[in-house]
Symmetry: C2
Subunit: 371 residues, 2 copies
């Protein structure tokens, strides 16, 4: 069932592998892809107890010396101060690193963003092998080389574009996610469907139940279905990144659902809403604006909302302040000269970028999800 997707970026090209059991192949992959003799694993306090020992054993079996740097789990850790602590450990303790050292970020989006950023700035850039263990990280943040951390002024304001030498996505690691975390990632899969691939929407609708199957504490999704879902999504992400590595054009399509979504996250506080929940609300509001502009059929907007509901993702939210949300959007790093840009659907599988979004449109869209 293993799936392999090539991310074609010239001399920075790499493969994303998706299969069960890949955590035990990190050692052989590092050896094959880089020839490195030394690895530093960067992971968080949730993931370390689950997988760090297996990773270091896999590396040792391949003749690679490794050590593990651990930071406190959670988005609040994703900041410059934690990066500074990790760099102190990386550069100032243990066996000295050199330019041949490889970083292995292991975990969800936060570990990937931070580990990739540390790799990007240590010794002016070390190679790294991305090992995502959450659905959201597999389908989104692990592919494309965006790394970085949050700042008090906004999310992901500090970072670099730095491509990994490869991505290993072990689907078995997804079984230890909570069902809410899984749904968080399924929201991004819906996003990919809306921006690029109507058949992916069919696939998610058909398999919504299978994908959300739970057996006691553990997720019991069908492995083949999950591999196929991940491969379809990574292929979309890879194609977008290939066309526009540094986000000067169509890569912005991936921000569908994220403009109002990010503003909602900032407004309610990152600790109070999951990223996938905010994106779900962001897609519903973007669709509202697209329908009001007669770009998008109301029936398709309803179909997307129904799918999000069947994935237990929110389509309404109480106590949002439309004026404040607009203000946050105006200060988003993607706003140019204070002008708000949004990605709106123009058909199922098609989106476009609009620079002329008004406060009134956003206000009406935010009001439409009040509930």
């Amino acid at each position: 069932m293993e799936q392999k997707i090539h991310v074609a970026l010239g001399e920075r090209s790499y493969d994303v592998r998706i299969a069960p059991g890949l955590i035990d192949q990190i050692g052989s992959s590092v050896a094959e892809l880089t020839g490195a003799k030394q690895v530093v694993v960067i992971t968080d306090s949730n993931v370390a107890p689950l997988y760090a020992a297996r990773v270091t054993e896999s590396l040792a079996a391949a003749g690679v010396v490794s050590r593990v740097l651990e930071f406190p789990a959670g988005e609040p850790s994703k900041n410059f101060a934690t990066v500074s602590d990790l760099l102190d450990e990386l550069l100032g303790s243990g066996e000295p690193i050199d330019r041949g050292t490889v970083i292995v970020p292991l975990g969800g989006g936060v570990a990937g963003d931070m580990g990739g950023f540390v790799a990007g700035v240590a010794l002016r850039g070390l190679r790294f092998l991305q090992c995502p263990t959450s659905l959201l990280a597999v389908v989104d943040s692990s592919v494309g080389g965006k790394t970085g951390v949050d700042h008090a002024a906004g999310k992901n304001l500090i970072g670099v574009f730095h491509q990994p030498v490869g991505v290993l996505s072990d689907i078995e690691s997804l079984r230890t996610l909570s069902i809410e975390e899984l749904r968080n990632g399924l929201g991004e899969c819906v996003k990919h469907a809306v921006i690029r691939d109507a058949t992916l929407l069919d696939f998610i609708e058909t398999n919504a139940e299978t994908l959300q199957r739970v057996d006691g504490e553990k997720l019991a999704f069908d492995s083949d279905v999950m591999c196929e879902l991940l491969a379809k999504n990574v292929a979309i992400k890879a194609q977008v990144v290939r066309t526009d590595e540094r986000e000067s054009g169509v890569r912005a399509h991936l921000n569908y659902g994220h403009t109002i979504g990010h503003a909602i996250e900032t407004f309610v506080g990152y600790a109070n809403i999951r990223h996938g929940e905010a994106v779900s609300l962001g897609m519903v509001t973007a669709n509202h604006i697209a329908v009001a502009r007669e770009l998008f059929a109301p029936a398709v907007a309803d179909r997307i909302a129904n799918l999000l509901q069947s994935l237990n993702l929110p389509t309404t939210c109480g106590s949002l302040d439309a004026v404040k949300i607009w203000d946050i959007m105006k200060h988003d790093k993607k706003a140019r000269g204070g002008q708000v840009r949004m990605v709106l659907p123009t058909g199922l599988g098609e989106v476009d970028i609009y620079d002329d979004i008004t406060e009134q449109e956003v206000g009406e869209a935010v009001e439409s999800i009040d509930g």
Copy 2:
């Protein structure tokens, strides 16, 4: 007398301009090269009182809004904590920035390295126009896109490769340097001559006196001679960088004089020796090893030492500990797997990289400069 050198790096190409009065052309250059409407100048507490007002006036005249971020002058500021402070100011105060904002690092090597690094990581990479005001920065650090800061574990251990959109080197700004700072930069010019261009060594020998002319408090070098010197040096640096942007091969030639030089800096403390002085000692010791290996004629090594002396750069140094210097070299970020690499001259204008440097050779070379 204006000189222009093209740094050919494909889509990351840019020009280095060298002339008097360029500080007053920063505004028009930013407008022409980037079309930006907003600039943030990053400079230090020595340079700000001298030039910040002229820079902001030049920008205002070109219709560009700007603000100035200032940090305490000196190498001890070149660290992650100062970068964090600058990012806080950049992202969290004043008019919000966006991806169109341009950074202007203004000052010596520290301002260029830090301003370039801040530009490299803010919003995952902003464009920047490098404006060096020291000789060392003009001929070395402003060209080639190396940015970064020091760490307790060593110099320049944290940073990114990030090319500027252009470099403006106003030679009049060099007249406010101390004569020691000027000589600091002349040491790097000797380095360029030894690694690539025997005729440049002749040029420096011929013009050593003119270049060091002082009139009261102010440097009184001949402008034409200085422009020519800078252009020759920037052309060498540009050619090396073009061949090997990310320092995987011949760019390492620029480390001639820097391996033992960096170790001496670390050993005596950055506050106690100028970079150019350490490089001068580094060249003399590298030459000693090259002569001992019979790679290099003793007469040429003597000629270089005499030139360094005529530039008032040190060729001897008391109280160095050869064992500790070797230990520091083994932990240099350029060492691979603990193996020490050095660049040694194989002829005037020619160098090669040697991976088999021994502790004994370094010990003898360090002893040879005891005085």
